[in-house]
């Protein structure tokens, strides 16, 4: 059997084992080791297994993950999300569906300190859903907004998905963080439009909130201040070159602890809870990365990704159509596979194709995050929907899925806009690169 055929057999076995409820990282490692042993020899496969796991576990680059996750966890436990929501509501509550728009606003702000979509959904479900219930919002709109709003955490930096994508494709984490800002804000704006349109068409969905004075509005801004400072220090310091992503993440985690202490929310129990959740999430991510690296080494010796890349690039189709097919694959697969796992699984296969087609790697990173965002609110594996369903057990899952569907339309519009205007993703990193070049020249 040729190595390429073994590679195809490995991919089929991967899909079969994935459906068996086996942890994703374990599946990739097992297939990678067996495939490598088949093509080379068992001893080399076991050496690769240990070397890859050791290198991944002791990777300084991956240390950024637990630190950013801890920052989000502390923010979650210290009530930052509650203050963000209150501020957003004071400013946006008078609009049709004002509470739902405020939820999107708070999700956007919370996404700026938390890198996970499901974590953002869980946080906002606890904060916003009781308020929307109190103001007699339709639960379909309320739960759908929280589930969809949570997906913003995947796009707005710091994003765990971007960190992993950057490591696997050897791109700059800073550039990817920058590239996620405008698409994240664009998606948030589109979500807002979806809510307003729905509430204009069916006013019963989201009644207008009470009027607030300018004084109340100004006071509410204080609730945003801590997040703004934390985000500015971490991201600003990284983009300005004062510190590396790992250092930025450590400063962010420390800053979140200081904020929690100032708010008198920091207790030993809360810190330990945040740390346990942090090590669990980080371990889950890093095990998948280790599995993907092992699987990637197996695929590399089969030459399957290169054959696929040259095959797809040689198709008599325009590049944009091939890209559309790849994105469609992500959209469909994202409905079944966890977003992060899907991206890690497919990068070794699709990244060479994208490079061959001449697309910008940073733009592609943003696109696949956006497309997999869709998968987190669509059945059957809409993880953000399940998170909201888990938090609010009296809302049926089908109601949440139904409520999230209009937001899927907004994500599709965002994806089309990004296809047509890739600059939305690439302009900020390009602009910063130019700025840094100018400052270096000026220093000289």
């Amino acid at each position: 059997m040729s190595p390429t055929l073994i590679g195809i057999a490995g991919c089929v076995a991967l899909v079969v084992l994935l459906l068996s409820n086996m942890p994703v990282g374990l599946v990739m490692a097992v297939i990678g080791v067996i495939g490598f042993a088949w093509i080379v020899n068992p001893s080399a496969a076991l050496s690769m297994l240990t070397a890859d796991i050791y290198d991944t576990f002791s990777s300084q680059t991956l240390s950024v993950i637990p630190l950013f996750v801890l920052m989000g966890q502390i923010a979650f436990h210290s009530g930052i999300s509650r203050r963000l929501f209150a501020a957003a509501y004071t400013w946006l509550g008078r609009m049709p569906g004002g509470l739902a728009i405020s939820t999107v606003g708070a999700c956007t702000a919370f996404g700026a300190i938390c890198g996970s979509g499901p974590a953002t959904s869980a946080t906002m479900a606890a904060v916003a859903l009781p308020e929307m219930k109190r103001f007699k919002y339709s639960m379909e709109l309320a739960a759908g907004t929280v589930a969809a709003g949570g997906t913003l955490g995947m796009m707005i930096p710091p994003s765990v998905v971007f960190i992993v994508y950057a490591i696997l494709t050897e791109q700059s984490i800073g550039d990817l963080f920058l590239s996620g800002i405008l698409p994240g804000l664009l998606t948030a704006a589109l979500f807002g439009i979806v809510i307003v349109v729905q509430c204009i068409l069916r006013p019963g969905l989201g009644p207008v909130g009470p009027k607030t004075t300018l004084m109340e509005k100004t006071k509410a801004l204080l609730g945003v201040l801590e997040t703004l400072i934390l985000f500015s220090v971490v991201m600003g310091g990284m983009f300005a070159g004062f510190f590396t992503p790992t250092e930025g993440a450590a400063i962010g985690a420390f800053g979140a602890i200081v904020i929690a202490a100032c708010q008198k929310k920091l207790t030993f129990k809360m810190l330990m809870q945040s740390l346990y959740e942090t090590i669990r999430t980080s371990c889950m991510v890093i095990i998948i990365v280790a599995g993907a690296i092992i699987f990637g080494h197996f695929l590399a010796i089969t030459r399957l990704p290169f054959e696929m890349a040259s095959g797809l690039a040689g198709l008599p189709l325009p590049a944009w159509m091939i890209m559309a097919i790849i994105l469609l694959f992500y959209l469909v697969a994202g409905c079944f596979v966890d977003a992060l796992a899907l991206i890690i699984l497919t990068i070794p296969i699709f990244y060479p194709v994208v490079q061959n087609l001449g697309y910008h790697p940073i733009w592609f990173g943003v696109m696949i995050v956006l497309v997999t965002q869709m998968g987190t609110i669509t059945p059957p594996v809409g993880v953000c929907v399940y998170v909201v369903g888990g938090m609010e057990r009296d809302i049926p899952l089908q109601t949440i899925f139904k409520g999230a569907m209009p937001f899927l339309l907004a994500l599709i519009v965002a994806a089309v806009l990004l296809m047509l205007f890739p600059q939305i993703a690439t302009c900020l990193p390009d602009w910063f690169d130019k700025l840094q070049t100018v400052s270096v020249v000026l220093e000289q």
Partner: protein
Amino acid sequence: MFIAVYEKIVYYVVRVLAILAAVAVMAMIGVTLVDVILRKTPFPLRGAYDIVQIATAVAIAGALPYTTAVKGHVAIEFLYHKLSRTGRAVLSTFVRLVGIILFGFAAYQFIFYGIDLLKVGQVTPTLKLPMFWVPWLLAFSFAIVVLVYIYEFLRPGKEMMKL
């Protein structure tokens, strides 16, 4: 009786490793902060990179048995939940067996990997700290993961600990 003692021992070892992982994460924050603060002073911290690298390995090694015990790994569950009770039991047994074999092999291999690092005198770049014990810690962690899977065999359907 045997299962209860076994459960207790594995539970405490997993807890201790999780605490070790949490301490390692806090150490990463502390060392990085001190490094950033002292960088521009005449007393910079030497070897912050080395310490963070080791702390990352300790954190993930310590977290692995805990993540396994709380069933914290990502898996695709939607087909699994559609199976009959027997089907689910067969599949779970298969998944645990694969886990035991893979982590068991990896644990065994890491012992020799550590011996190799000891023989060649592998050290960290700046502080020259020996690295051979890191694979041994990984071997220990993986062995505990195997024990967690064995616990799941003994007590099917029950989580060893809650998150």
